[in-house]
Amino acid sequence: MKQFLSFVRKEFYHIFRDARTMLILLGMPVAQIIIFGFALTNEVKNSRIAVLDMSKDAATASLITELEASRYFEVEKRLHTYKEVEEEFKLGNIKMAVVLPQNFGADLLHFNTAQVQLIADASDPNVANTLTNYASAIIQDYQNRITDGRRLPYTIKTELRMLYNPQMEGAYSFVPGVMAMVLLLVCTMMTAITIVREKEMGTMEVLLVSPIQPIKIIVAKAVPYLLLSMVNIASILLLSVFLLDVPINGSLVLLVLESILFTVTSLVLGLFISTITDSQQVAMFISLTGLFMPTVMLSGFMFPIENMPRVLQLISNIVPAKWYYIIVRSVMIKGVGLEAVWKETLVLFGMMVFFLIMSIRKFKIRLA
């Protein structure tokens, strides 16, 4: 036991004495939460638009005011001819143009129907989509107001209700994603590197010619990173709740336990990588391309898995972060309990056992 504790202490010395390691370990989670929280967001705000109002009546005026009043749009320019619309797009000044045809108000009043054209710059399809949706919603709102009290024949009203995240805040989806990413990166990459470094520095040679068992080396290497990951889990959750106003709707205990399970899975995965590589570069390369990229792409955090081709959907099943992401989203945002995520938990647990067995079997008790 003394042997084991002394090994753990040595690992802490390595971590605390290397500024770069410390920065990656403790700085990165905070930086990522803040970057994702404030800079990167898929909400579109204050987009510049142009208005071509060929009618210039009371109805168009109030519709334009409605658009302007929303925080999504800023009317950059009032246009006078249809030709100008394309010119503005080409100059890149605007993201969307709203065209109100002649006699808009009169048509609306007398024929009960009027048309609005929304032209969006679809070179960025996501933004174009979002903007036209926002604009449609505002126009719909306006229509509801003027028809208020009157009964229209044959109308189907869709009423939307956004469950669990009524404001559609981006933070709700990326906090679970960042947690998965940070824990995976810290645990897998750092542990993979730490064992390989012993090989590279030649210290593994001395450790092997000593009575310490390989399993103790592996566990002693993992312990400090497990502890530091708990610090990270705490700091991410604190930042999410107090800085980004993301609530923890479910059980905090369950969330922490699931996070520990995922941490251990990542640690074991890192150990497995370290047993099959011989240099820090290779270990880093495998961790980054083999794990980090799939985690970002295939965990469902950036891109919805449901929209992917079948092959990618299948591959996504072997990405541990996908399961953890589902668990965190369910527990933290939806507020459900273990009964809803036991399947995902079981998958993670299975992965952990699998990689543990693999790394013990692959651990070299000799140099070659």
Binding site: F7, Y13, D18, V206, L208, V209, P211, I212, R366, L367
Partner: protein, 308 residues
Amino acid sequence: MNAAVIAQNLVKTYGTKKEEVQALKGVSFEVAPGEIFGIIGPDGAGKTSLFRILTTLLLPDEGQAQVDGFDVVKDYEAIRHRVGYMPGRFSLYQDLSVEENLKFFASIFHTTIREHYELIKDIYEQIEPFKDRRAGKLSGGMKQKLALCCALIHRPTVLFLDEPTTGVDAVSRKEFWEMLRNLKQQGITILVSTPYMDEASLCDRVALIQNGEIMSIDTPEGIVRSFEHPLLAVRAANMFRLLKDLQQFPGLLDTYPFGEYHHVVLKPETTEQGLYAYLQQKGHTETKLQQVEPNVEDCFIALMKTAT
């Protein structure tokens, strides 16, 4: 069975089938308990492979070896408890201080610095003033002393030192060998490898190794005694031309540059005078010939020539 180390016909091959490199081609020797046994040979001779097999870090492709009566393949765990190993490269934690390194290795071997302090006392006292310094910031000689302390902390029965004096200054080298002699007094068997021929005389027995084969095993005196031909040291004003001319002379077995002189091995029928006359005739000035005692390096070169 009471030998400290037994190696029998060890073979080790690296690389793929296409490009095979035989690092060891059937190496056998025995080391008696309490002996300082030197493995002497140039870089790439197979010294490190041999040490790694004996310290259970590598598996031999053929042959057997025992350390302290334990088989290096079957009983590797027992061997790892009782031997001390100092690899050729400095292999301690550079970011840990001198004292932290020593404490760490003590606890890895289930012991404390106190327990066998008398064994490392003389060595440790020399580096103790720097005990709070990071190991990476020590000089070469001090790193070596610290590594030796760490390898001795559990009072090993057999100590394996792979090129401990490579890259260490002359004074530290001398000190290092004195330490080894003291350890021998404590009854520790020491296997040490070195590329420096002049260190051979400091061992009890040496094995000369070249290209994965042991050429000779004997005491340093025995090895020197086995050199059976007269040996001359020759110098002249133009050393380069002298070597060329010596190589042309048919009455020689061998000639090679040796420090400030060229060493010349005479054929039995050749006389010193005959060689002198030849050099005079070639027009060499300031010619100086003198009979010298062969040392291990001369023997090594002679053995290399007969091997090929």
